[in-house]
């Protein structure tokens, strides 16, 4: 399986840049997710790889083969569409066989390949159905099988699960991840759903306004966001504004206007700089009375007043007042606090990230 490389890719629509000088390398056999809000350029990037949009400048390579100047049908790239795009006038097996016929494959071999493709996506027995006679999930599988039977060098998946209901979506996520593990196709997966990206990806590329904001493993993207955009896009995040007071190595001490002092991770910062500290709700740790009395007056331990406590089943969603800052926190249902109480909380400096404004 070859790798895919995008070099200085630029695509503009009128005055706005859909892809702004993108450099990206998808490793051999890797599943890379392009993640971002709508309009971030992820779908445009995907369509550039298969050749449905012409580039202003830049090149795309599969291995050493330059593909950016050859037509889509000759690139060896498979695509699964968001709305499946099955051909309604063909049966399931005709849908799968079409690409194989174009390859001039002998008939008995086509039949074998189609059967194989249907068994991969567990749709044996539906060969002669028309797409409209299938459920959304089944159509999705047919679309996947149609791309897979051709054994493309690169597989592209354009929000393939966004039209399915929640339960099915979760199930298909794991199935796609499983299929990927099994066949090891170099794959680009486009989604705006961060949970999906976390579950499925080897690496995630977060895009905004056509630019690459961060490229890394799901853990890196979530726990070590490189900038405010990534921190804000992934999960729920509280932002607390302040000024850098001190820097030591990879850590910075930040003082807010109301006198709160926080330590967190942050690189490339300068003393006195305006920053925002990103706090994830699940990283707010509630200290018991015992822990609180044992803890030295250390950094990142605060008194907080609970202004709202909402039971949501698996956890309690709190709204806390720390000095003048209002933040959300997630708490264990077994130690329920009520609104109006004052508690001691701690936030691990490693779980705090400090970003330039």
């Amino acid at each position: 399986m070859p790798s895919l490389r995008l070099v200085n890719v630029v695509k503009t629509y009128g005055k706005s840049k859909a892809i702004d000088n993108l450099n990206l390398m998808v490793e051999d056999g890797e599943l890379l997710t392009l993640l971002g809000p709508s309009g971030c350029g992820k779908t445009t990037t995907l369509r550039a790889v298969i050749g449905f949009v012409a580039l202003e400048s830049g090149d795309i390579y599969i291995g050493d083969r330059k593909i950016s100047d050859i037509p889509p049908e000759k690139r060896g790239v498979g695509l699964v569409f968001q709305n499946y795009a099955l051909w309604p006038h063909m049966t399931v097996s005709q849908n799968l066989a079409f690409g194989l016929q174009l390859k001039k494959m002998p008939k008995n071999q086509i039949r074998k390949k189609v059967a194989e493709g249907l068994s991969i996506v567990k749709l044996e027995g539906l060969e002669n159905r028309y797409p409209r006679q299938l459920s959304g999930g089944q159509q999705q599988r047919v679309a996947l099988a149609r791309a897979l039977v051709l054994e493309p060098d690169i597989l592209l998946l354009d929000e393939p699960l966004s039209n399915l209901d929640a339960l099915l979506r979760e199930q298909m996520r794991f199935e796609i991840a499983q299929l990927h593990k099994q066949y090891g196709l170099t794959t680009i997966y486009v989604t705006h759903d961060q949970t999906e990206a976390m579950v499925i990806s080897d690496r995630i590329a977060v895009l905004d306004k056509g630019r690459l904001m961060q490229l890394g493993t799901p853990w890196e993207i979530y726990s070590r966001p490189a900038n405010k955009f990534v921190a804000g896009f992934m999960g729920t995040t509280n932002f607390i504004r302040g000024k850098v007071e001190d820097i030591s190595g990879d850590y910075a001490v930040v003082r807010t206007n109301d006198g709160l002092i926080l330590q967190g991770r942050g690189r490339g910062l300068q003393k006195g700089q305006e920053v925002e500290v990103a706090v994830r709700p699940e990283n707010v740790e509630f200290l018991s009375d015992l822990q609180a009395s044992n803890a030295p007056k250390a950094l990142n331990i605060f008194d907080a007043r609970i202004t709202r406590a909402t039971y949501v089943g698996e956890l309690i969603d709190y709204q806390l007042h720390i000095h003048d800052s209002l933040i959300r926190a997630k708490g264990d249902v077994r130690t329920k606090q009520v609104a109006g109480e004052t508690v001691k909380i701690r936030i691990d400096p490693d779980q705090l990230s400090v970003h330039q404004v």
């Binding site: 889509p72 790239v77 695509l79 569409f81 795009a85 051909w87 309604p88 174009l102 797409p131 791309a147």
Partner: protein, 275 residues
């Protein structure tokens, strides 16, 4: 007891009667006229019925009555003209409709509007001018000239309906074909064209019927040398009601057959999956 069901049933009956009066009754009257050999005022129904006029019209029996000629040659001429018009119109309409639907063509909307022009103006002045031009070109009074006029009138249905049809086919259909290795042409012929078939057929039928029924243009450009079925109908209608009724019914037959054909095709399985 006056229930809701009864109300619905009685409304249905009223609707049926209205439909009957509006659509079936005029046709009935046509049919009765076509078999009325003798029918004088104040009789409600013909005094003598028979297929004399049908036989005359179909050339099975000679008659010296005014307007009574065999319509068989006119019928075949009309059919031939209509078929040629359909073929040429669709050869223009399919690429034009496709291009206007799929590509960003400058003034695309205006080009579509241009096809409407021959039908948007009063037809007589348009065709009087056309006769003038056609006379210079030597096309007046020729079958080719009449074919050109019919194309001019029918192309609006050809281009507009094919354009709407191609617009209704999602671009993903062709892109999916490209993604499995089909070139542009193959994607069009194997995917888009079959998906568009019902719409294209509908458009062809409209062109066909338009040509079959075309009157004004043929009247100015074709007469007296090109006698299509509507021309024959016109020349006999003033003198011979029975004969005119026969022609009218014959003119209706291809239209009804084609309508039935569209109905059948539009109900085909895959249309439901489109969209």
């Amino acid at each position: 007891m006056f229930s809701k069901k009864m109300l619905i049933v009685s409304l249905e009956i009223i609707l049926l009667v209205v439909v009957f009066l509006l659509i079936i009754w005029p046709m009935m009257s046509l049919f009765i006229w076509s078999i009325a050999e003798t029918w004088y005022w104040p009789n409600t129904l013909p005094q003598k019925i028979g297929f004399e006029y049908w036989k005359q019209a179909l050339g099975l029996q000679k008659s010296l009555a005014i307007g009574a000629v065999s319509i068989v040659p006119a019928f075949f001429l009309s059919l031939m003209i209509a078929m040629i018009v359909v073929v040429i119109s669709m050869l223009i309409a399919i690429p034009a409709g496709y291009a206007l639907a799929k590509y960003r063509i400058p003034f695309g909307g205006f080009i579509l509007f241009l096809f409407l022009m021959p039908n948007a103006f009063p037809q007589q002045p348009v065709f009087v001018n056309l006769l003038h031009i056609f006379t210079k070109l030597g096309l007046a009074g020729t079958v080719q000239g009449v074919i050109l006029v019919h194309i001019l009138v029918g192309l609006v249905f050809g281009v507009w309906i094919t354009n709407a049809t191609f617009k209704s086919i999602p671009p993903h259909m062709e892109e999916a074909a490209r993604s499995v290795g089909a070139g542009k042409l193959r994607a069009f012929f194997r995917i888009t064209l079959p998906l568009a078939a019902p719409g294209l057929l509908a458009s062809a039928v409209f062109v066909f019927i338009t040509s079959l029924d075309e009157f004004t243009g043929t009247f100015f450009v074709g007469l007296p040398f090109v006698n299509t079925l509507p021309m024959t109908l016109y020349s006999s209608s003033g003198y011979n009601m029975q004969f005119a009724s026969v022609i009218a019914i014959i003119l209706l037959i291809p239209s009804i057959l084609f309508m039935a054909l569209i109905q059948g095709v539009l109900k085909a399985e895959y249309v439901g999956g489109m969209g």
